[in-house]
Amino acid sequence: MMTVEETANIIEGILFLSPSVVNAADIQEHLNVDLGIVEEAVVVLRKRLEGTGLELLNTAGGYELATRSEYSEHLRAYFGRMDRTRLSRASLETLAIIAYNQPVSRADIERIRGVNTSGVTKSLLDRNLIKISGKGDGIGRPFLFSTTPDFLRFMGINSLEELPSLESFEQKV
């Protein structure tokens, strides 16, 4: 029987080596332990990482290891990676409309933004931040767009519920 500590060690290794988010069910299946043990081990691991340069994140419905944001500058300088991946204002507005209204057609997005968005949606599709999730019932059966798990990773959130309600932005307006 694997102990919680041992499970935590293995999870640490998996997360260290994994190029993508690892979810609890996958770990449970591979280690053949109860989900409760996995969750307990994650708590242990998170505690263990306190005060280190790493943190355990809950993103896109799973776990991943990342360096702490406060050391970003040093790490980027060390690795010589000064490139920046940023989304344009148009892309962010389009993502926001999709995230809060999904599934949504391009016509609906354009109705709100008031401009053609075919270039922006193509760019977001290319980056796998959105996907075509179906077809609408309207004239021409338009494609409907939804966000992907990679969108959650990009934003560093676990689920769409972590986004603030639209009402909070209405108050700011």
């Binding site: 260290f16 360096t67 690795f79 991946t85 204002r89 962010l92 926001a96 290319d126």
Partner: protein
Amino acid sequence: MVYEISLEFPGFAGTLDLLVERVRRFEVDILDVKISEVARQVVDGLKDNIDLQFFAPVLTVSRLMFLKSRSLLPGRDMFEETELEEENPEQVEEETQVRMRLEEQYRVFSGAGEHMRGLAEENRLRIRSYQTRAGELPGFIDEIAYIEDITPFDLMVVMNQILKRALRDDTYRVRVDDAQLLSRRISEVFDFILARRGESVTFDEIRERTPQKTEAVLSFLALVYLVSQGRVIARQHTPYGEIIISVRHADRRQFQDDDG
């Protein structure tokens, strides 16, 4: 000067404007007006007056044609359009409200977009291990600046820097006159990249296959073409560093599907 064209045909004699007005008031039945005859007389009247202001009668004839065509359509009131032209205060109010609602909606989503920018910026500061492994960047966030984030000015500045550096080094002048040669090389390079089935390829690997300098230039031009066509992504982690090439995500997913 107001140019008026006089018309004359059975049932009417007067100017073109008068004809339109009488039709609108039901004083002349539009069905009795031969548009072809009106057009002929208007063209005759315009013959000796080539001036922009004289095109007004042409527009008037168009208007007449419009009124007649509407009257010929079944079940349509020929003056329906006249009613629509008059401003309906309720309709204007409704349109204004719709526009205001859309503007408000836009501002809300614009705010949500700004919030997302904050989240993404914060998240960018947390570095994952895969981000330091060359050629193993995950599909969703290749750390390259995308075309939409680059202005022509940026490209010009970078090109200028490259040229300045190039002039300091030994340079070779190569002419590629044979378009078929380049076209063939584009196919070869793309096939070579595809053969890796989603794995990254470095430009050095492509160049090693054809060690001659002219051939390397051809391969580079082929690569530039493939990047410009969106077929492959090329990235460098450092200026003048190794060029890492991979196929676009959609093609990569295709490999995964093929592999089952």
